[in-house]
Subunit: 453 residues, 2 copies
C-alpha cells in the first residue's frame, strides 16, 4: 500500500481553510436572511430509503442517485436468474435499500409527513446541506454540492412568494452580485395549452420551451413538432421569444390573449398580485418571463429563476407546488420554496473577487520560540492571550527564526512576537507587523490591548 497514489472520487472536492471560510461566509449570510424572514432550520440524514427517493424527480434523477449497498451478506436476497444474466437494474432493489439524497425537497416532503403532528403550519423551514448526483462532472458541476433552501408549507398566500423574492434581493445585494429574478407562473403555461387546445401536452411543451435560451426559436419548434405538439404551439414560440424586448410584458398582446383562458387569467392575477406589493428595489430586478419553464414537474404556480450577467446558468430558483407531500400520503399541502446554489455562488464570487477579506478570521499573532529556557513564560503568555480571546499560536519548537517567520507568512498571520533575553530583561516584547515590516516594543498589557483591536 505504501506509495500508492491516493485520489478522491470523481467530481468530489476537498476544501482548504480559505475555501471553508468563504463557503461559511456564504452560508452564514443566507442563514441570517432566512432567519430575519422567520424561517427555522431543520437537518435530515444524508441517506434516505430508496423508496423515498425513487421516482420523485422522474427516471432521469433515479439514474443520478448514489445507492448504498446493504450491509453484510448483501447477495443473499438477490435473484439468482438476475445475477446470472447480470441484469443490474433488476438486482439493484435487492441489494440496496438506501441512497444519498439528490435534493432537499424530497427529504422536506418526507420530514413534513413524518413530523406532521409536531409541526406548526404554515411551516417555514430552511435547510442548508450537501446533496449528491452521479452526473457527468464538468466545470461548475460537481457530484457533491450544497443547496440552501427555504420553503413555506401549508399556506396558499402569495405573500410568501413576495417574501421569497425579497430574500433573493437581500442575499444577492449583500454579496454585491447584480441579479435579475425571472418570474412567471406555471399557470401561464397551462393557459398556453388552453390556447392551442393540447392541455395534455404541457410537460412536452415545457421541456422544449425550457431550451429556448440555449437552442433558439427554430430548434425549439422542431422539438415541439417531434414531441407531437400542433402548429398552434409551434407558432407561439416566436411570440414568446419576442416578449424579451417588450417594455411591459404584462401589457403585451400575448398576455392579453392568455388572459382569455382560465389558467392564463389566474397566472396573470398571481403575477400582478406579487408585483403590486413589492417595493422599487425588488420590482427593479424582476423580469416577467413567460418563457420560463423550470424543468421540475411538481411546480404548479409562480416560478422563479435568478440569473446574473456575471455568470452562466442560474444561481437561484424556486416556485410553488401544490401537492409535494401527497406522494407520501399527506395531500392538500400547498407550498412554495426557493433554493440557492452554494457552489455556483462561490465560483461566481471567486471569479469576480467579491469575497471580503478573511485574514481577520485566522491566527492574529505568532509567538516565536528560539530559546528553550523561555518556554515557561512563553507558554504562560500564549495561554493568557487565548484567555483574552486573541487567536494566538506559539511555535511548537525552538527552530530557526527564519522558519518561524516563514510559517507566519504562509499562514497570513499579521503579527509576530519575539521574546528572548533582551525582552525578558526589559519586560518589553518586540512585535513585528508582517505586512508593513515594522517593529515595535511594548509591555504585555499594551500588547494585549493592541492585539485585541
Amino acid at each position: 500500500m505504501a506509495g500508492k497514489k491516493v485520489s478522491l472520487p470523481k467530481g468530489m472536492r476537498d476544501f482548504g481553510p480559505q475555501q471553508v471560510r468563504k463557503r461559511q461566509y456564504i452560508l452564514d449570510t443566507i442563514r441570517e436572511v432566512f432567519e430575519i424572514f422567520g424561517y427555522q432550520p431543520i437537518e435530515t440524514p444524508v441517506m434516505e430509503q430508496l423508496s423515498t427517493l425513487n421516482g420523485k424527480g422522474g427516471a432521469e434523477s433515479d439514474k443520478l442517485l448514489f445507492k448504498v449497498l446493504n450491509s453484510g451478506d448483501f447477495l443473499k436476497k438477490a435473484d439468482e436468474n438476475a445475477l446470472n444474466e447480470k441484469a443490474s437494474s433488476k438486482v439493484i432493489a435487492q441489494i440496496s435499500e438506501k441512497g444519498l439524497r439528490y435534493d432537499l425537497t424530497v427529504p422536506l416532503a418526507r420530514y413534513v409527513v413524518m413530523h406532521q403532528n409536531d409541526i406548526t403550519f404554515p411551516f417555514k423551514r430552511y435547510q442548508m446541506q450537501p446533496v449528491w448526483r452521479a452526473d457527468r462532472p464538468q466545470k461548475g458541476r460537481y457530484r457533491e454540492f450544497w443547496q440552501c433552501d427555504a420553503d413555506v408549507l401549508g399556506s396558499e398566500s402569495l405573500i410568501n412568494e413576495m417574501e421569497l423574492i425579497q430574500i433573493f434581493e437581500r442575499v444577492f445585494k449583500t454579496f454585491n452580485i447584480p441579479v435579475k429574478v425571472h418570474l412567471s407562473s406555471r399557470k401561464l403555461l397551462a393557459g398556453m395549452m388552453e390556447l392551442i387546445g393540447q392541455e395534455d401536452k404541457m410537460i412536452d411543451f415545457t421541456v422544449a420551451l425550457d431550451k429556448l435560451d440555449k437552442i433558439g426559436v427554430e430548434k425549439v419548434q422542431d422539438e415541439l413538432r417531434a414531441r407531437g405538439l400542433n402548429e398552434k404551439a409551434v407558432e407561439l414560440i416566436p411570440s414568446i421569444a419576442a416578449l424579451s424586448s417588450e417594455k411591459d410584458v404584462m401589457k403585451s398582446s400575448f398576455i392579453a390573449a392568455l388572459e382569455k383562458t382560465s389558467n392564463g387569467a389566474e397566472g396573470v392575477r398571481e403575477i400582478n398580485t406579487i408585483m403590486s406589493r413589492l417595493d422599487f428595489a425588488c420590482r427593479s430586478i424582476i423580469i416577467i418571463d413567460p418563457s420560463l419553464a423550470r424543468g421540475l414537474d411538481y411546480y404548479t404556480g409562480p416560478i422563479f429563476e435568478v440569473k446574473s450577467e456575471l455568470f452562466k446558468g442560474s444561481i437561484g430558483s424556486g416556485g410553488r407546488y401544490d401537492n409535494l407531500t401527497g406522494i407520501f400520503g399527506l395531500p392538500n399541502v400547498s407550498g412554495v420554496g426557493i433554493s440557492f446554489g452554494l457552489d455556483r455562488i462561490y465560483d461566481l464570487m471567486q471569479e469576480q473577487n467579491l469575497f471580503p477579506d478573511f485574514s481577520a478570521a485566522s491566527t492574529k499573532v505568532l509567538l516565536t520560540y528560539f530559546d528553550e529556557e523561555k518556554l515557561p513564560p512563553l507558554f504562560g503568555i500564549v495561554s493568557m492571550m487565548r484567555e483574552a480571546n486573541i487567536k494566538a499560536e506559539l511555535y511548537p519548537a525552538p527552530v530557526k527564526l527564519k522558519k518561524q517567520f516563514k510559517y507566519a507568512n504562509d499562514k497570513g498571520i499579521p503579527y509576530v512576537v519575539l521574546y528572548g533575553d533582551e525582552e525578558a530583561d526589559s519586560g518589553e516584547f518586540t512585535i513585528k507587523d508582517m505586512e508593513k515590516g515594522e517593529q515595535f516594543k511594548m509591555d504585555f498589557e499594551k500588547l494585549l490591548e493592541f492585539l485585541k483591536q
Copy 2:
C-alpha cells in the same frame, strides 16, 4: 405510493429547529476554541475511494463501512462465478469503489498526502463533519454522527499535547460539563511489554486492558491468558487497577518499575513534561491513568480520554500517532489530535439541562393580519422591520386571530403586533408580550426601538 408509510433508514435522525440550534451552538463553541488556538478548518467529501478507507481501522471497521454502488451497469465487471456462488465478499470490490467515511482521521491523512505541497507544516487543522458507521444502533449510538477533530501534523513537540488538553478544558468549561481528562502514553504500555518480556503482544495486551473498567480484573486476566500473554502480564493487572487509588500515580512503585524500561522511561518523561507546563485549572482535571489503552492501533505516544461523572462513555479522546500518512506514501510525519463527539455532548447537555435559552434565535415578532385592506401597510411594516434586522413575520392570510396567536405561541414568538382600524387611525400599534400577557401601545419608531433590544 400514496399513503405508503415513510420512514428513515435505521440509526438515522432528523433534527428539528430547536435541535439544529443546540447542535449549532455546540459546533460554534468548539470552532471558536479551535480557532483561538490557531487551528484552521478543512472539509472533505462524504465519499472516499474504498482503497483509501479499507484496512485503516482493522477488519472490524471495514465491516462498518457504508459502500456506494457503482453507477450504471454495475454488474458488468463482476466475476460470474462469484455471482453464481453469491459470494458477497468477493463481489464487493467489483461493484463498489466508493464508501462513506467512518472517521475524519483517514480523510485527514489522505488530504495531507494529496495537498502536501500546499500545506505549511506544522499543519494545525480542524474538521467538523458527519461520519457513518453501519453499527448496531442503540441508545447514544447512531449510524450517522458528527466528529469535531483538531490535529497538528508535522510537529513532535509536546507543546501540542499541552494545548490540546487546554482545548478540552476550555470547551467543557464553556459547556458547564465537569470532566476528567485521563492521560497516559502508549509508551507506558510498551514499557509494560518490556517488563513482561512479550514486546510482540502489545496489541493483544491493549485490547484486553481496554476492558478493565467494564469487565474487571479477573476477566481481563482470563482474556490475557486466552490471548497467549504470560503470567507476568496477568500479574500486572491488579497493580494497574490499584493505581486509581494512588494519591500520586507518578510517584507509585508501578511507575518506578516502568521507568527502568526504555519505553517506560520515555513515557514517564512525556507525561511529566506535559504536566509541568499546565496551569492549575488543567492539572486539576487530569487523571494519570496507565490503564488507559485506547482501541486504535495507530497511537504511539501520549493518549487522552475525556469522561464526565454525568455521562457513561467518553465524550472526547485523542492521542499521538507517528506515521499516519505513511500508509499513503508520506512517512515520518508525526501528529497528535483530539476529537469531540457532538452527539454525545448533545445528549449529555440535553439530559442535564445545560443548554442556554435559544428563544432569542427565533422570530422576535409576529404581525397579525386580520383586515385585508391593511395588507399594503402591513407588508411595508414587516419589510421595514426586517431592514432593521429584526426577525419578523407577517401571518400570510387574514385568518382568525386565535389561530394567529396559536402560531406565535407554538413557535415561541415573544411579541405579537395588532394593526387594525383603530391602530391605523391613532398611528399607534398594539403590541402584546406573549409571556407576560401584557399589552402596550406605541408608535412605529418606538416599536422598532423596542424590538431591536
